[in-house]
Symmetry: C2
């Protein structure tokens, strides 16, 4: 649709093969990892510097061409759909770690650095970055979707771990949202405005992150329960007791089975909690003792670093394990997050709904935060099945909102959850979000048709 635009002609002339209209590339950039239909952009551009991003945005703004920022392409909620065509702005070539300050426990990376690449880079310094969505996402994409993961109960989400961003605005101007100070009361919180904005308010090109020291001691354990309810109750009890646990993850029995098959593990087939403890040697021992006092069930310890690493890698691959259970299927993950006192009821409701929906699915949760997923493997060509899964998702979201929770703990709204935004926020708050969007991106060229419901 923008094939003949002056902007595309200028990009092709200036950047050669880094601007591409190949169909394979376009299709690869128009989808994510789930059931959402691919909507390919008209072209793809691989940026190498913030200056180039600014140049591209100015050119596209001149012709009113939509721009969709692209990182690892691991969106679960249709964030990458080029619903109005336009340009996919691929940031994966911007993959340099720009600066590490071990004494300040912070670093600055380009938006295309992945979380795993950063952690490899940091390991020799005794540091790590804790936010770990299942996918090996880019840090720019993680900032844009306010990602979290298994460590959030202890270390927070991207909201808490981003100190500052470099952002290219819709007019091509470049801003830095904040200083490197640990706290500041200066002006509006531009950092948090862009964290979670899903590419709709600006293009994140650099991310300054808080880092954490690798703990002196780490212990991990799996604990098997007779049923899902008792596993959920145990997690709640550990959180309410105030144990400073690093990770507590719920895997329902069928997910343990899928994961054993997919990741060649031999976890016992049961509803299971995975725990990880971080601290000093004595501190970890004390946490373990406290948790064993609370949770009387059967513990197995992952004592070597290799065992731990294998366990958590399998956990991160849980989504793919469910998909592997049904070849040819696409994923669909629910993502509600509720106050912890509502967790057990919410998990029970989810189990009940999944039974009735007659679908390939398993429950998995970052239960320390009150956040859990039903991961479905769906046939995208079966409208009846999609409709049943959609109904489960809707009912869980209605429930979450009714008990004081949210439709999405970490996956974002994208295009997949727009229909629930008014229910969660109310019309006046949605109007305010629209006013912010219009003020910052008056032409509406930045990732259109995401987050905000139609007027």
């Amino acid at each position: 649709m923008y094939e003949q635009s002056e902007a595309f002609a200028a990009l092709a002339a200036r950047y050669g093969s880094r601007f591409s209209r190949s169909q394979a590339l376009r299709e690869q950039h128009g989808g994510g990892e789930t059931y959402h239909a691919i909507a390919a952009p008209d072209a793809v551009f691989f940026a190498e510097t913030t200056g180039e991003v600014a140049d591209v945005v100015k050119l596209c703004a001149g012709d009113g061409i939509p721009i969709i920022a692209f990182g690892a392409g691991t969106s679960l909620e249709g964030h990458l759909a080029a619903s109005r065509g336009g340009l996919s702005l691929d940031l994966t070539h911007m993959n340099k770690v720009l600066r590490i300050s071990p004494e300040d426990l912070d670093c600055t990376v380009e938006a295309g650095v992945t979380r795993e690449a950063l952690n490899v880079y940091l390991r020799d310094q005794g540091l790590f970055f804790p936010v770990d969505p299942g996918a090996n996402a880019t840090l720019g994409g993680m900032a844009a979707t306010r990602a979290s993961g298994t460590n959030a109960v202890r270390y927070g989400t991207m909201r808490d771990n981003v100190l500052s961003l470099t952002v290219v605005l819709a007019n091509g101007e470049v801003i830095r949202t904040s200083s490197r100070a640990r706290k500041s009361a200066a002006g509006y919180d531009l950092t948090r405005l862009f964290v979670g904005s899903e590419g709709t308010l600006g293009i994140i090109t650099e991310v300054t992150l808080r880092l954490h020291g690798i703990p002196e001691a780490t212990a991990a354990a799996t604990c098997r329960f007779p049923d899902l309810a008792s596993a959920a109750q145990a997690a709640i009890a550990v959180i309410q007791y105030g144990v400073p646990i690093a990770r507590v993850e719920l895997m329902e029995k069928r997910l343990v089975d899928y994961t054993n098959a997919y990741s060649q593990l031999d976890l016992g087939s049961a509803d299971t909690l995975l725990f990880e403890f971080h601290g000093s040697e004595k501190g970890v021992a004390e946490q373990v003792e406290t948790v064993r006092g609370i949770v009387a069930d059967e513990f197995s310890w992952a004592t070597t670093p290799e065992e731990r690493s294998r366990l958590w890698k399998a956990r991160h691959n849980a989504f793919y394990a469910v998909l592997a259970a049904r070849p040819g299927a696409k994923g669909w993950a629910t993502d509600i997050c509720v106050p912890i006192s509502e967790l057990a009821g919410s998990v029970a409701l989810a189990r009940d709904l999944v039974e009735k929906a007659d679908a390939t699915a398993a429950i998995l949760g970052h239960v320390g935060d009150g956040n859990f997923h039903v991961m479905f493997a769906v046939d995208p060509d079966d409208p009846a099945e999609l409709s049943r899964v959609r109904a489960v998702n809707a009912e869980l979201i209605h429930h979450a909102i009714a008990v004081g929770g949210t439709s999405t703990g970490e996956h974002g709204i994208g295009s997949g959850k727009i229909e629930y935004m008014r229910e969660e926020f109310g019309n006046a708050a949605i109007a305010l979000m629209r006013a912010l969007k219009s003020a910052i991106d008056p032409q509406g060229i930045l990732n259109p048709d995401k987050i905000l419901p139609p007027i």
Copy 2:
């Protein structure tokens, strides 16, 4: 200036004595706790419900009357100045704790509840709210200025501890910014947009807060150092070692002397660090041992709860202790926050500048965050002295920004630091902040002339 407005006539008719034009009340509502000149509003209104706030905002919006939200009146940066007249909207009658959920570690309070009142309320439940600016501020005011205090190094600031807000917008509409979920990836982060907005984007009427369990064990200690530099270095070493310390505060020798006099303490006259440790019995013992290993200097322990409470009360009153050293003086507090690796140099620079300025002043710092204050007691009628203090403040801010820090760690911009905003953020980011302000408050009636520099 708005005496004859229809809005004021309507307010007087509807609300009787809760709408007042008494000169004493107006003057009391037009200033804070520092050197800034009082600029009295034309009237004061004492709101009792969110609905009343919405009503008042609609009436004032109809006549274009400025509205300045008012809590405890403890602003340090001229936030309360009615520079264009208008209405001071006093929220102190909205002082109810609306809801506490011990199992979810959260609560909702009206904006006029003070931090001390909340903590008295929570104590029986084994819970506390950690954010503690020096003053006994209201939680609405603390949210509006993104306040922090001595516990921020462990528990975070208002940015981290506000889960959700009820806000009356400039058009009188009421929004709730978020759910009670611990994390969410749904939509723009409206909560963080209003936290720190200093009454310029909306009127905060209710605050939902994260709470924390009162730790099983607490220990506090003072540690004396031969000079300021070694005290600062010790604090840096403790932070860089990763001790999960609850509080680490720097008090320079002259401040210890002022505080001994003002609060009838007998701390040894020396540059001093105040430490507090929270955790399990064993955890606290281990932290103490670690810190004693790092800091070889002279420790004194505050072992009883009464001693600890007395020590921290004196610390919170440090600002008043400096003022008491010079009867009739007004306060002026600098507030830079720098990366921790820059702390020692910044404190040394501050000491040097204070020497040269020949002023009554003392240095105090939340050094775990890299944030510290020079607290001046100034003669507001001596232009030469004010000019010398202004120069110290400016030089510290230039320095902080140059080394990656911020002009204000916790006091906010108000009208006092507007002139440094462009230096800290750059013109494009300031233009973005202006665009946000115009989109949300198109008439500019909410606390005008704060935060944003002129175009």
